[in-house]
């Protein structure tokens, strides 16, 4: 019973935290230098892992898809399989999971350490709102970065170094049919829905990461627990939201 009330209390605390962050967002837009700095830390530094994972996932999809399609004589539809799987599901979801592991945990640890070393209380004593100065720029930067990272993931997986490389160079799928199939069957609607998914995932992961950091217990154990909780709760939230969004979007 106590655990349930604790859980509900945490949920309520997180909701109030989200309202405070959203209220501070317009102020964050007026501080572009903070925003750009955070975009670099969160977005740019995640680029390598997202791009490389994108390539590998595209390559695996091409290999697996080619084998199955070849038994039906439909090997030239490889582009379709890779593009649809990546744009609809794997792009947003895998990017969000990797982002939660890399950027989410780093955000939680950074904010948690700020809390443990009393930097946040020092700011409050100087009449600087830590939510406006520290949290809101990170939240906005994360929400902007997520769809961009998901698009780069999809780009690497379908074209550049993923499906195209393996399908066309290694397996011998015709390059023109690979791309023509994608062009004729993929509608702007699909790409739009994929961006919506990554936006929702971005809001969820950043909210969870910043909340865990801000309300971490101010000890070293508290910071480590905040980091693990971020990754675990973010991953579950991403997969649950993916189910809900897919049910509504792809009927």
């Amino acid at each position: 019973m106590k655990a349930i009330t604790e859980f509900l209390r945490g949920l309520g605390e997180a909701t109030f935290f989200l309202f405070a962050v959203l209220a501070a967002l317009p102020g964050a837009l007026l501080r572009p230098r903070l925003l750009v700095q955070q975009l670099y830390m969160i977005g740019m530094l995640s680029l390598i892992i997202i791009a490389i994972s994108g390539s590998f996932i595209g390559m695996v999809l091409a290999l697996q898809g080619y084998r199955t399609l070849a038994t039906f004589g439909a090997a030239s539809s490889l582009g379709l399989v890779v593009a649809f799987s990546v744009i609809r599901e794997l792009g947003p979801v895998v990017t969000a999971l990797l982002y939660a592991g890399r950027a989410g945990s780093s955000l939680a640890a950074e904010i948690g350490l700020m809390k443990a070393t009393d930097q946040l209380s020092a700011m409050e004593m100087m009449a600087v709102d830590p939510i406006k100065r520290v949290i809101a720029p990170r939240f906005l930067a994360g929400v902007i970065a997520m769809p961009l990272l998901a698009s780069i993931f999809a780009l690497m997986a379908i074209g550049v170094a993923g499906g195209h490389l393996i399908g066309v160079e290694l397996l011998g799928v015709d390059v023109v049919s690979y791309w023509n199939q994608i062009k004729s069957s993929l509608h702007p609607q699909d790409i739009f829905e994929s961006l919506i998914k990554s936006l929702v995932f971005g809001v969820a992961v950043n909210w969870i990461a910043l909340y865990q950091g801000y309300f971490a217990a101010p000890t070293s154990e508290g910071v480590s627990r905040a980091t693990t909780s971020t990754v675990v709760v973010s991953s579950l939230a991403i997969l649950a939201l993916d189910f809900v969004l897919t049910a509504f979007m792809f009927r």
């Binding site: 509900l8 209390r9 949920l11 309520g12 605390e13 109030f16 189910f243 049910a247 009927r251």
Partner: protein, 180 residues
């Protein structure tokens, strides 16, 4: 930040909201728009063979889904397959002399029951039986018929030998072994 009781209350509301979203998602994701209607009625139809028809398959008129197959059983006296069809209450004026056929959706698709309306004034009601049915299409029988008709055409001039030849070739080739 806020009072503890307020936080618990807000958390509770957020939980309710999330649960409501999940219920809505399950409703939206399931494509079963027919089941549970108050005015749905059930009719039966007997077929010689139902092929791959299974419970939950659609019942369609002119390609539009109006119901589902709820149950499949065997008539103990005639050994025909009896399919119970649940039809949506929105379509309560299907003539009693309609024909029920088992058709395939597309070339490799699943099988469904198609109803072709007849001309009777009286409509199907709960518990009625559709009298005119056409069974599912069995590939092996069709190949057998085709081969039989081919060999019959070849052997009509030689009547004495023809009859024995016909008997030998009249049995259709054995169907492909079931286990793979």
């Amino acid at each position: 930040m806020q009072s503890r009781a307020l936080e618990v209350l807000v958390g509770f509301f957020v939980c309710l909201g999330v649960a409501a979203i999940f219920v809505l998602t399950f409703r939206v994701a399931s494509s079963d728009t027919v089941s549970g209607g108050k005015n749905n009625y059930q009719v039966t139809a007997k077929f010689d063979t139902i092929g791959n028809l299974s419970s939950g398959a659609s019942v369609k008129i002119a390609g539009v889904r109006i119901g589902r197959v709820r149950g499949i059983s065997i008539d103990p006296t005639t050994f025909q397959a009896v399919a119970t069809l649940e039809i949506s209450g929105d379509h309560a004026n299907i003539p009693e002399d309609s024909t029920a056929k088992i058709l395939t959706a597309g070339l490799l698709g699943e099988q469904y029951v198609g109803l072709e309306p007849g001309g009777d004034d009286k409509s199907l009601k709960q518990g009625d039986e559709i009298k005119f049915t056409q069974s599912a299409f069995v590939l092996e029988n069709l190949i057998g018929q085709f081969l039989t008709s081919m060999t019959q055409k070849d052997s009509t001039p030689k009547s004495a030998q023809g009859s024995t030849q016909n008997q030998n070739t009249a049995t259709p080739p054995a169907p492909a072994p079931k286990s793979k």
